[in-house]
Symmetry: none
Subunit: 310 residues, 2 copies
């Protein structure tokens, strides 16, 4: 067996012209898997090869969250391969979506859209602003970090919550997730952008919602199980929070007839914060940068941690 | 009589905790009027004191337009005092409203809010992004200038249109209103934030709408007559533009039963981009900055011209 060129990169399961161009812009050479040192994957875990040539040292996966890859056993089946996710690739577009949901909520757009008459005093007390508001972002990964300058441009104060509490650039305060308890009563709004793990299951539940304020919006652009759906429905029905913007739900898909479809201040977007049209362009940019790191020997972006599971 | 400290600032007629904090952030010290060099006013002209201590050199008024203060004689009654208005104070909140409307449109939130089922493929082609999009702001006054950094944080390219074409900070291109004709076919979205004059009447009419794109959103946060309502209705019915976000309409109030109340991609907010509750917070920010100028001896923002009457 000949040793493959160290900059030879395969794309699979299907070749994609935009990705070939991205690999080449990154300094790689597009090659069949049998000759490659790396594999850029474009599909789900189902079609992933059971075995990889021994010289494949790196596999790039196309999704930011990789639970399904762990569940399918893909990552454990290849212990000598460095897997990277696309965490961060879609950060800016998902952050934009989160901001859209939050602003729509704060500005009472769902109620405005339901109105059929001008009488405006009704709305005066419903309209808020992000200027001077405290927005807590749970999860200071790519999405959270991309969201901070957007919120800053609107004059919001950001509390960033991450595992370690390590200071996050642009945040007024950075807290470890262990200190999250102290946040609920002091924040105006919450954006959930954390990985889905056993530790983050129902991170926003009845107790947390009860400590938020009547104008507080909760936005989830991460994974459905981080937020307790039944608790959200109860809080909206009781009017104890301002509303929710959910790009992800639990269960997902959200069944027809579910109360969230008709509750006034629930904005549900069916996991489309990063639809295919926006995604392909962003993945190509991410691949270009990571291929460049691979061929120049720099540490790859978004390495998957086999122990943490993301 | 002892001379008051030059950074002593009174707040009246009632003390307001947010304004006390703003004064202190600005480098001032909150003090009773009898000890103060400046007065931050929070009410109308009716309650304004007939006489002020001689050491009061500056009075900040809470409104952007000050006709009523001239009419009440307040300003003429205190010829040795520098009065400032709050002109520009509320630009950021109106700009935030414009951004909320634009993002809601680009992210297809009106259609999402009308949906009662998860089936998401329907939405995939409707969702856009401001990243890389061109947004033309007509009117580069306070609101337009406040909007630019918000759009920049999302990766949008801004074309700023003003009377002279003088370069506007943060805009990719600055154009005089005489060159507006060349913009319609090359912009993605339009935000109208210009004064209402004879020259700007129906600035956005049928011909202009016809040159926009099927995904283009038109936002009006200025005055209703700048946009031709009938032409907007026709464009929405024909599907030739993406949608409109209107905080102002012509006629205003928009009558019950008007087609804009029910057309899918029309978001109407009844002239509430700057409702009373938000004014207070914005005023505090303005006060902070002007107190800082006062204590450091810089020229104050929004000085009232006794001759011009504004």
């Amino acid at each position: 067996m000949t040793s493959p060129r160290s900059n030879a990169v395969a794309i699979g399961p299907e070749e994609d012209r935009k990705l070939v161009a991205a690999v080449e812009r990154g300094g790689g050479v597009s090659a069949p898997l049998v000759d490659a040192s790396a594999l850029i994957w474009t599909a789900g875990p189902e079609e992933f090869p059971e075995t990889l040539p021994a010289h494949v040292r790196w596999v790039q996966l196309p999704s930011a969250g990789v639970e399904s890859w762990f569940e399918a056993g893909t990552i454990d089946a290849h212990p000598d391969v460095q897997f990277t996710s696309a965490a961060g690739a879609y950060a800016a577009t998902v952050a934009e979506h989160a901001l859209s949901l939050l602003l729509a909520g704060v500005r009472a757009l769902p109620e405005h859209l339901a109105a059929r008459t001008w009488d405006s005093r009704h709305f005066y007390d419903r309209i808020g602003t992000l200027r001077g508001a405290t927005v807590t972002i749970v999860g200071a990964g790519g999405i959270g970090r991309a969201l901070i300058p957007m919120l800053a441009s609107l004059g919001a104060d950001v509390i960033a919550v991450n595992r370690s509490g390590k200071p996050v650039p642009g945040a007024r305060r950075s807290l470890p997730v262990s200190a999250l308890d102290e946040v609920w009563a002091s924040t105006d709004h919450v954006v959930v952008a954390a990985p889905s793990t056993a530790a983050t299951h129902h991170l926003v539940g009845a107790a947390e919602l009860a400590r938020l304020r009547p104008h507080s919006w909760v936005i989830n652009v991460a994974r459905g199980p981080l937020v307790d759906t039944d608790a959200v429905v109860a809080a909206l029905q009781a009017g104890t929070i301002g509303g929710v913007g959910l790009d992800v739900t639990d269960p997902e898909p959200l069944p027809d007839g579910h109360p969230l479809w008709t509750l006034t201040n629930a904005i549900v977007t069916p996991h489309d914060s990063n639809p295919p049209r926006l995604k392909n362009a962003a993945y190509a940019d991410f691949v270009e940068a990571n291929v460049n790191r691979f061929v120049t020997g720099e540490p790859l972006a978004a390495p998957i941690d086999r122990v943490q599971g993301y």
